[in-house]
């Protein structure tokens, strides 16, 4: 075969070729799962047709583009598939393998053409022969395995036909993203400039409209970055099938939630860890049919991948019903490797033992296999997941299976972070990396120095202690206040204490990659550009630990536990808290005792007045604690809060459950309404600060009746009813005919008396101390110097008197 099948033609031809290659690669990716599903159910005509169409298209295009190898391969596959369609052949596993083999070869060739490299010079004849003669050659393979390969069942996902799409270069979308980012910055600057100048409502309105447009645009653009998780799953069925065959294991695969969307870059970042987890599951988790039978389990193992969105996170759960992790063996290995002392091991809890799986170089596998033993362990998986701001959790059931949960942020670019100050500069650190923050004057913390090494002992647990300034080679400025000590957990799993000047803030950060020059230092994970326009660096916890050359010996956590037994009685004080989801998607906690009840409220009852949000409940106006009034749906769940006297309403997206949270958050980070972060079931949740919440409510609640009422005492009087009342109403006053029954009179109320009944006046006055009274008289002239009454047609004097009373 001449390696130059590539055409050196006109530009038009090159473009056609490119188009053909990228289309072929994309279809191949999508089809890999289909072929496997088709094998499981050979009667599935739709899938067979889809596969047939692929080869048919490839054959047609490469005839035109003069790619003879592509043509031969696709022609052979097309022949066989058309026989199967006509019912002349059946789709047995060997045929499917051969079809897959052809697809792989076409993929390899396409890759080579795309890179402009020489085509791989292998013999296609063997592949084609395997396809056309389903004879001894393939049969012997089957015999070696002892049994036929287990078909892999794939849950069918979604419809076949999608919405209309076009192909766009990524660079164009990135350019668009940058443009929109620039626009947002320009908007912010404009907003600052506008605030400095005099108030112009017209200009403000136009600016508001512009802001809304920019915000909408940013939302839409960020959607172009989203991709269905399906793509992440595309390669899994094929991998499961092939691995299952190689290892002689039977696996029933279920994929769910492929239509969940996540950031394109995030998909790329998750592919490797996920692939590794699935490989591990098949290689070490699910047992061979014989072993499974002996253990009383069905011969076919279950492997389940599930993706779902939860707030601003994507949760991917991989569950198998295999052997689980043998923690005893992990401990043995750790002791053998000198990473753990037997005494410490004896005191370890089961959860701590399980954590050992994340230690570099420890694996339960007896020997390195070709499948997952490539020197890549769970430590690397964890490091990769945490690098993108994700979390990994294990739920181990020895002998019955393992459930691995990956939580990754929706987009790679936005992560929750803490802003810290050290050496006079600001840095960001992913919140997920921070376990705890203390001030160095805290009683539970003790810092000692031994031979130059600093050790921070926090509640009996010893941590290596470093100062960020020392690691980065900065001068430590003279500080007045206490320093903040953060307990940081690096990817290798050994937490350490890091001293910084202060922890300033807690923010959602837009992270972008730093240049390779900066990344080469190893202590930075990226950078971010906050609103103030000063670039800030994102610290890499693991990088700092290795730059400081911290020991990686696993600390004796159990020792802390025994030390803490006594402490535990007084222990961490727990309180009941409501876990809920904010309208913006975050999950937060609020102390349960503050919540009077939870109810669904009509969205139309929410409104805004003088910059404050309120909701009309039971005829009263109740302030809305988080200032939201617009929900885009009819009913909204709301928490009714009460601090004894003040009432507030807190609309939320959903109420989740009631949990126990520590009285003092695991990590204190005051910021807005949030007092810190508590870790509940491995999830970092922000805790609402009730003090800040109530303190931020408008002073004295919202008083709907900002002005006083006019009480018209002589409600029977014709003039009062027909002339005075309409005049007052027209002037915007609230008019009450007669005296209120309950005599609830506000000092701002004005009582109007027509004055001809002195006895009535005296009686009323006795009952209304502090309320202003205006006397009206029928005569234009005052009765005498003592007469403070107002002529009833003197409109200006009347209005002035009422306004004066209402202050």
């Amino acid at each position: 075969m001449v390696p130059s099948a590539r055409i050196r033609g006109t530009m038009g031809m090159d473009e056609l070729l490119q188009e053909f290659i990228s289309e072929t690669q994309e279809t191949l990716e999508a089809l890999a799962g289909e072929v496997v599903a088709w094998e499981a159910d050979p009667s599935d005509r739709d899938r067979l047709d889809a596969i047939f169409r692929f080869f048919h298209t490839v054959k047609g295009s490469c005839g035109f583009l003069n790619l003879p190898r592509f043509e031969r391969l696709s022609h052979a596959a097309e022949d066989v598939l058309s026989d199967i369609r006509a019912g002349k052949r059946v789709a047995d596993p060997s045929t499917v393998s051969a079809v897959l083999g052809l697809m792989d070869r076409i993929g390899e060739l396409a890759e080579a053409v795309a890179m402009g490299a020489a085509l791989p010079n292998e013999n296609d004849e063997f592949l084609i022969a395997a396809l056309t003669t389903p004879s001894d050659a393939t049969l012997t393979v089957e015999v070696e395995h002892g049994h036929a390969a287990a078909p892999v069942a794939v849950a069918r996902q979604g419809g076949q036909s999608g919405p209309r799409t076009i192909r766009l270069p990524l660079s164009l979308i990135d350019q668009l993203m940058n443009g929109v980012s620039d626009m947002v910055l320009a908007r912010n600057e404009l907003s600052r400039k506008l605030r400095e100048r005099s108030v112009d409502t017209e200009l403000d309105t136009v600016f508001e409209r512009l802001s809304t447009c920019v915000a909408d645009m940013r939302d839409v653009i960020s959607k172009t970055r989203m991709q269905r998780v399906e793509r992440l799953f595309a390669a899994i069925p094929r991998m499961v099938r092939d691995l299952g065959r190689d290892l002689g294991k039977r696996i029933d695969l279920t994929l769910e939630g492929g239509d969940v969307e996540m950031d394109r870059e995030m998909v790329e970042m998750v592919v490797d860890p996920l692939t590794h987890i699935v490989r591990n599951s098949i290689d070490h988790g699910i047992e061979t049919p014989e072993k499974r039978r002996a253990a009383g389990k069905p011969e076919t193992g279950q492997l389940r991948l599930e993706a779902r969105q939860s707030g601003n996170q994507i949760v991917i759960v991989v569950t198998d019903d295999g052997a689980g992790i043998d923690t005893a063996r992990l401990v043995e290995k750790a002791i053998a490797a000198g990473r753990l002392t037997p005494e410490a091991a004896a005191r370890m809890s089961e959860a701590d033992r399980l954590e050992l799986i994340f230690q570099a170089g420890l694996s339960t596998a007896n020997q390195v296999t070709a499948i997952s033993g490539r020197g890549v362990g769970m430590d690397v998986v964890r490091a990769n997941v945490e690098r993108i701001g994700g979390l990994i959790a294990l739920d181990n059931h020895p002998g019955r299976g393992l459930c691995i949960t990956l939580r990754v942020p929706l987009t790679l670019t936005i992560i929750p972070g803490l802003i810290i100050r050290a050496g006079g500069l600001h840095f960001a650190i992913p919140r997920a990396a921070v376990v705890e923050i203390l001030h160095d004057n805290n009683d539970t913390l003790q810092i000692s120095e031994v031979g130059g090494a600093k050790i921070a002992t926090i509640r009996g647990l010893r941590h290596s202690m470093i100062d960020l300034e020392d690691v980065l080679g900065m001068d430590k400025p003279v500080e007045t206040g206490p320093r903040a000590i953060m307990v940081v957990r690096s990817a290798t799993g050994v937490p350490f204490a890091m001293g910084v000047s202060a922890v300033d803030n807690h923010e959602e950060l837009v992270i972008r990659p730093a240049s390779p020059l900066v990344m080469a230092s190893g202590v930075y994970a990226g950078m971010t550009l906050p609103d103030n326009g000063k670039p800030m660096l994102l610290l890499d916890a693991a990088g700092i630990a290795s730059a400081a050359k911290l020991p990686t010996m696993i600390d004796d956590r159990a020792a802390r536990q025994s030390d803490q037994e006594a402490d535990a009685q007084s222990g961490v004080e727990m309180v009941a808290a409501l876990r809920f989801e904010e309208c913006s998607g975050e999950r937060r906690l609020l102390q349960l005792s503050l919540i009077e009840r939870v109810e669904d409220i009509d969205a139309s009852l929410f409104g805004r007045s003088g910059g404050n949000a309120f909701v009309r409940l039971d005829g009263r106006l109740v302030p809305v604690a988080n200032g939201l009034t617009d929900f885009g749906r009819d009913k909204i769940s709301a928490l009714r809060l009460r601090d004894g006297s003040v009432e507030a309403c807190y609309p939320v997206a959903a109420v989740l459950d009631i949990v126990q949270m520590p009285m003092v958050p695991d990590m204190v980070a005051m910021h807005g309404h949030v007092s810190g972060v508590a870790v509940i079931d491995g999830e970092h949740l922000e805790v609402i600060n009730p003090f800040a919440l109530f303190a931020s409510l408008p002073d004295g609640g919202i008083v709907e009746r900002v002005r006083g009422r006019c009480l018209l005492a002589d409600s029977d009087d014709g003039w009062t009813r027909d002339i005075l009342a309409p005049l007052l109403r027209q002037a915007g006053q609230e008019v009450v005919m007669g005296l209120p029954d309950d005599a609830a009179v506000d000092p701002r109320d004005v009582l109007l008396l027509t004055g001809h009944d002195a006895a009535q006046t005296a009686g009323v006055m006795a009952g209304m101390i502090g309320c202003r009274i205006v006397h009206l008289r029928a005569s234009p002239r005052a009765a005498g110097p003592q007469d403070s009454s107002i002529y009833r047609y003197d409109r200006d004097a009347l209005m002035a008197a009422i306004a004066g009373g209402q202050g």
Partner: protein, 145 residues
């Protein structure tokens, strides 16, 4: 050979840069330092919504950081997907040179050797033709590693 060159002075030396490599020349205002790095990385600076890594080229060549007050102009360049600002002492001119590149003559100093490609004649002076990418990929990354 009728190429467009940017003429500038850098660490007291006359240099020429092919304009194809140059995106813009800006006056640096605010540079946030990056601690823990060599002297050749002056810091980060924001240009609209982009973040530039500012390279103190003089420090790269002579190993001594430029004093902060002298930080003035920087040549902005996009090198393998990242934006950099390369600090220069001053920018003289942008013009076409009909003769184009001339081969190097004389013994080039070892500090300059990795970056110099050729000589460009302009207004009767020889200007050292340098590649911006070489500063980043050849010099800075090697020193950072």
């Amino acid at each position: 050979m009728d190429r467009l060159y940017l003429f500038a002075t850098l660490a007291g030396t006359r240099i020429a840069v092919e304009t194809g490599e140059v995106e813009a020349v800006v006056r640096l205002t605010d540079v946030s330092p990056v601690p823990g790095m060599g002297a050749h990385i002056a810091g980060l600076s924001a240009l609209r919504s982009r973040v530039l890594t500012i390279i103190d080229v003089a420090a790269l060549i002579h190993g001594v950081a430029s004093p902060r007050v002298e930080r003035g102009l920087a040549i902005i360049a996009d090198i393998s997907g990242h934006s950099y600002g390369l600090m220069v002492d001053g920018v003289t001119d942008i013009c076409r040179v009909p003769e184009g590149e001339l081969p190097l003559r004389g013994q080039i100093g070892p500090a300059w050797a990795p970056y110099a490609r050729a000589i460009v004649e302009h207004e009767g002076h020889p200007w050292l033709l340098v590649s911006l990418a070489a500063f980043i990929e050849g010099g800075a990354l090697a020193q950072a590693a």
